[in-house]
């Protein structure tokens, strides 16, 4: 658990951070809250020549409104996300899911942007941002660009960020009026989710008008349970929901690891989607 040697930079602004990254090329790694990168360094699974610590850039922290959009700075800690009144009002799903991340110590260090940029499909927040239809804003030498969550998570631990780009903020359409629930299944409180299901449900006249389901740890990237989402439209009771979620694992490719087999994960995806949707719809 001794990390290899690396250079360390601590830019004071986003511009300086982007410049530092651009100069370093592919050999730099961004350090946000350190909850993923430091273990990788200590286990000698990552060997960056330069670690760019963006933890002291004030403009990357905080939550604000922009019309119908909620804007969360990439370096906003999990703890701040959980307790922020704007997040709780307009993106309750994110607050609820973030409250399940690891333990208080991790939540005071770890950041939303760090978690998303790490692109771990077992992380809770990528699937949540996917379900919320968020956009991730990257800044690089060529300026700013917004990437839809569905395009951001490219592969296992791989995001759409270029090496010289920094994730600066997350933009979420306000989900006012949507019911929500994050159903996390994990063997011990501090472990990653074996499977997690993020559900957003809009009801209309006692029926589900629209459902959005994000799946945690059901493949190399966070996934939407699109077949189940379609089947849930119009569902009006627990039995119709139960039927609709039978397709929750369609199109997923869950991993085999010490926590679970793919077959079991697919089973969990169905059960947990049912529970999450019923809870989000207030039917549970």
């Amino acid at each position: 658990m001794i990390p290899p040697a690396f250079e360390y930079a601590r830019p004071a602004s986003v511009d300086e951070a982007v410049r530092t990254l651009a100069e370093a090329g592919e050999e730099a790694k961004v350090l946000a809250g350190g909850q993923s990168l430091l273990p990788l360094l200590r286990l000698r699974l990552a060997f960056p020549e330069l670690v760019v610590d963006v933890g002291r850039i004030p403009e990357l922290r905080g939550v604000r409104e922009d019309g119908d959009t909620l804007v969360i700075g990439a370096m906003t800690t999990h703890h701040d996300v959980v307790t922020d009144p704007l997040v709780r009002r307009h993106a309750g799903l994110l607050a609820a899911a973030t409250a399940t991340v690891a333990d208080p110590a991790v939540r005071h260090r770890g950041t939303l942007g760090g978690s998303l940029a790490h692109a771990d499909p077992a992380g809770d927040l990528p699937a949540v941002i996917l379900a919320l239809g968020g956009e991730l804003v990257a800044q690089g030498p060529r300026g700013r660009r917004a990437v839809a969550a569905g395009d951001f998570f490219v592969d296992y631990l791989q995001s759409a960020l270029e090496p010289d780009e920094l994730l600066v903020e997350v933009r979420l359409p306000k989900a006012d009026g949507w019911g929500f629930h994050y159903e996390k299944f994990h063997p011990v409180a501090q472990s990653w989710a074996t499977v997690g299901v993020a559900a957003l449900v809009r009801r209309d006249d006692g029926h589900i008008a629209e459902a959005r389901i994000g799946l945690t740890n059901m493949g190399a990237t966070p996934l939407r349970a699109t077949a189940a989402e379609a089947a849930l439209t119009g569902a009006g009771g627990t039995e119709s929901v139960a039927r609709a979620v039978e397709s929750a694992a369609e199109g997923t490719h869950p991993a085999q690891d010490t926590a679970a087999s793919p077959e079991y994960r697919e089973h969990l995806a169905r059960v947990l989607t049912r529970r999450a949707v019923l809870a989000a719809a207030g039917m549970g």
Binding site: D103, P187, V188, A189, Y264, V271
Partner: protein, 786 residues
């Protein structure tokens, strides 16, 4: 003087004296120790489970910045084999165990080379430069396959993977009781390997004094005294030139009851280069290199009558030794051998244990050490027998246990239980648990076909603690005795130093020993200090493991303190011009019977020995005293644990809803310490039932190599424990104590698994393999339903 006696210290929930410095870290953890010129070791370890070492070239590492030296196994060839102190049979296969592998590596993590550098970082970086050519050999991983004809061998020169076969057959022949039995139940249980997780990783510092050939070795160890002797043998450094210090040690659970290669390596390197060195393991390194626990297949059979009365028990064990026999590796299952019959009466016992080598990290003591395995087997199969004969599991136990009026009772395994009251502990536990109410809820859920089932698990355990009568150890072929030593030093100002041969690493001996000494001497608790863990300051001891410290070491403190009082009485009688028989002694004061104003405190007497101005003729000027205790018998804590588990049959998720334990650990010195021991023990036992497992892949690599994969539960994963006690004093020591370090671990594992199986039995489930992960539970339900 009033008649009101000072409140006895023993029995008080004193906050622990040592905690302020332990918790704030203002103490000497081994890794905190720094000396001038200190160099740091890093160890290159085998990435393969089994391979021949064709070549090791450490010279490229010497080119790296900050590197001072580097050695291969061959370079340190002068080191002897690491010791095994418990060759359990005469014909045991006991392979050499070089501290650094020379010709062959036999588990992933086996040391191959060592680098010495100016700092930890330089040492770790330089490991990557060392060149090693390995010729892969086949791994040996499956215990049954390892014994089959033609299996690859862990130690090819030994011609077998079988280390030993150890039988114990007592009473009527088991075949004979099987013939007259109305019911037999046979089951196979598997104990997964567990990885001990002490809060403080292992660490060692060696400071050499070249001019006089003296060495001081600091180690995060449970056994400074045993370590000193063993390292003298392994390294050839004369024992009197070697001082071993166990500074404050942050937990061990048996994993620091060991003579480790790294300790020998550090000593050898310090001697070779004449400089002080330090090695501290990382957590993931410890997962490979610190010994593991458990790892056993149990074939268990009970023979009984329809009314539930037990006739006999047959136990066949295959136990995973790992690649080498370490300090007490082969003895661990033997420690359990006497515990399978537990609290039950029967006519026949037939036990066999086979030790098997595999290409995995060696196993050795882990909290409970053989006794959790035994308790698990008997308590699990008692539930199966209860189901078979249609009795409530508690009733089945009641029909078979030793009645409180039958003590002392010699069990079928040959142990004499001195005391106990299983009825009382069980009665209290059932009441606290609201057993009948939970049974009613369980029946209701079953009747409704609820997807969340309720299960109730019981475990009525006993254990043998207070290791150990030396003659028994001789009969078990253990290479040392089981005595313990204490010295009381009365300082001129009336303060007291208790020197103990036990070596606390979290148990709170400083507090408990102070309480014991304060009571006998009649001095304030605050006036007592406890000296431990340094072979120079506390030269005699057998250290701390196996719930022995209070039972043997605490008794030694008690006796030594009584000797102090006896010596002080002579001086007091002289000073008071009275005969010894005419003196009362209470609360630290000698007074003359009938004239209580004529008095001397024990502190005044201590000062008198310092001046020696007016001592009785011919009396040595000291009231200090030493006492060594060699116990006549083990102690036998027992108790009843009840666990209620909710099982979600849809997902396999289990949730402990309530947990009640009533433990009888004899007389209690400090109730708060006892409760803490029980809580921690429960957590570790529950961890085996539900969470922890060292998983290896088919090549013999440890898959659960970090805490991200090896699931140590936290408080958030555990229920609120209801802990209560009954107090049936032990008769084998003057304090009436029995030991409590392992009770929770021993009792809880079967209580939890019994509860899970109990919940699912109506669905047709009869067992779930540990750890009972959600997926395993889900599969068990699915298979039973299909």
């Amino acid at each position: 003087m009033t008649d009101q006696a000072v409140q006895s210290e023993v029995g008080r929930a004193r906050p622990r004296k040592e905690d302020a410095r332990l918790i704030t870290g203002q103490t000497n953890w081994t890794d905190n120790i720094s000396v001038n010129g200190l160099l740091h070791l890093a160890i290159l370890r085998s990435p393969m489970a089994h391979a021949r070492i064709e070549r090791v070239d450490v010279s490229p590492a010497l080119e790296r910045p900050g590197v001072v030296a580097a050695f291969s196994g061959r370079d340190l060839d002068g080191l002897g084999s690491l010791p095994c102190a418990w060759p359990v049979t005469e014909d045991i296969v006991l392979p050499d165990h070089p501290p650094i592998a020379v010709d062959e590596v036999r588990y992933a993590g086996d040391p191959v080379a060592v680098v010495v550098a100016r700092d930890r970082y330089a040492a770790a970086d330089a490991l990557e430069a060392i060149e090693v050519d390995y010729e892969p050999l086949p791994p040996v991983l499956d215990l049954e396959a390892a014994l089959a004809e033609g299996s690859p061998l862990v130690h090819s020169d030994k011609g077998t993977n079988r280390s030993y076969v150890w039988p114990l057959k007592t009473g009527e022949d088991f075949d004979s009781v099987r013939r007259r039995a109305e019911v037999t139940v046979k089951r196979r249980y598997v104990h997964q390997r567990l990885i001990p997780n002490a809060m403080e990783p292992r660490a060692v510092v060696v400071t050499p004094l070249a001019a006089s050939g003296e060495y001081t070795l600091y180690s995060a160890t449970q056994i400074p005294h045993i370590l000193r002797i063993m390292l003298a043998v392994v390294t050839g450094i004369p024992e009197h030139k070697l001082r071993v210090i166990a500074p404050d040690v942050g937990g061990g659970f048996g994993s620091k009851l060991q003579v480790y290669g790294e300790e020998a390596i550090a000593l050898a390197v310090a001697r070779r280069i004449g400089r002080p060195v330090k090695w501290t393991e990382s957590r993931s390194e410890g997962y490979l290199a610190t010994h593991h626990g458990r790892g056993m297949i149990q074939d268990v059979e009970v023979a009984a009558m329809r009314d539930g009365r037990l006739l006999g028990l047959k136990v066949d064990l295959l136990t995973d030794m790992g690649a080498y026999l370490m300090l007490v590796t082969p003895g661990i299952p033997i420690l359990g051998a006497f515990m399978y019959p537990a609290i039950y009466k029967m006519d026949s016992y037939d036990f066999t244990c086979t030790g098997v080598f595999t290409t995995r990290t060696p196993t050795d003591a882990y909290r409970g050490a053989g006794r959790p395995e035994a308790t698990y087997a008997i308590e699990r199969i008692m539930d199966e027998l209860a189901a078979e004969v249609g009795l409530d599991p508690v009733e089945l136990r009641r029909r078979n246990w030793i009645g409180h009026e039958e003590f002392p009772y010699t069990t079928i395994a040959g142990l004499t239980y001195d005391s106990g009251n299983y009825e009382a502990a069980t009665g209290k536990a059932l009441a606290l648990f609201e057993y009948d109410k939970l049974r009613a809820e369980q029946a209701d859920r079953t009747a409704r076909g609820d997807s969340v089932r309720l299960g109730i698990g019981v475990s009525t355990y006993t254990e043998m603690c207070g290791l150990a009568p030396s003659r028994v150890l001789r009969d078990l072929r253990y290479a040392a005795g089981g005595w313990e030593a204490a010295t009381i030093r009365m300082l001129p100002t009336g303060k007291v130093e208790v020197v103990t041969g036990t070596s606390p690493h979290g148990q709170g001996h400083v507090t408990s020993w102070s309480q014991i000494a304060a009571d006998v001497l009649g001095v304030p608790f605050e006036d007592v200090e406890v000296v431990h863990g340094d072979t120079k300051a506390a030269p005699q001891g057998m250290d701390t493991y196996g719930s022995r410290s209070l039972v043997v070491g605490g008794a030694a403190v008690h006796h030594a303190a009584q000797k102090v009082v006896a010596k002080a009485r002579k001086i007091a009688a002289h000073l008071l011009e009275a005969s010894e028989q005419d003196l009362d002694f209470a609360d630290g004061v000698f007074s003359v019977k009938g004239s209580p104003e004529a008095r001397k405190t024990i502190q005044e007497v201590a000062f008198e020995t310092f001046t020696s101005h007016d001592l009785p003729d011919g009396m040595e000027p000291t009231i200090n005293a030493e006492h060594l205790v060699d116990p006549d018998n083990f102690s036998y804590p027992h108790g009843t644990h009840l666990c209620a588990v909710e099982v979600d049959t849809e997902t396999g998720q289990t949730k402990i809803r309530s947990y009640v334990c009533v433990d009888d650990v004899g007389r209690v010195v400090n109730p708060m310490i006892v409760e803490g021991q029980v809580h921690g023990g429960l957590a570790q036992g529950i961890a085996q039932a539900l969470f922890e497992e060292a998983v290896y892949d088919d090549e013999g690599n440890l898959v659960t190599g970090t805490m991200a994969d090896y699931l140590v539960p936290s408080a958030a994963d555990l229920p609120e424990f209801v802990t209560e006690r009954t107090e049936t004093p032990a008769t084998s020591n003057p304090l009436g104590v029995k030991g409590v370090g392992e009770a929770g671990t021993i009792a809880s594992t079967p209580a939890v698994v019994n509860a899970i199986v109990d919940a699912l039995r109506p669905l047709g489930v009869h067992d779930v393999r540990m750890p009972c992960t959600p997926e395993r539970v889900w599969r068990a339900v699915r298979e039973a339903r299909s």
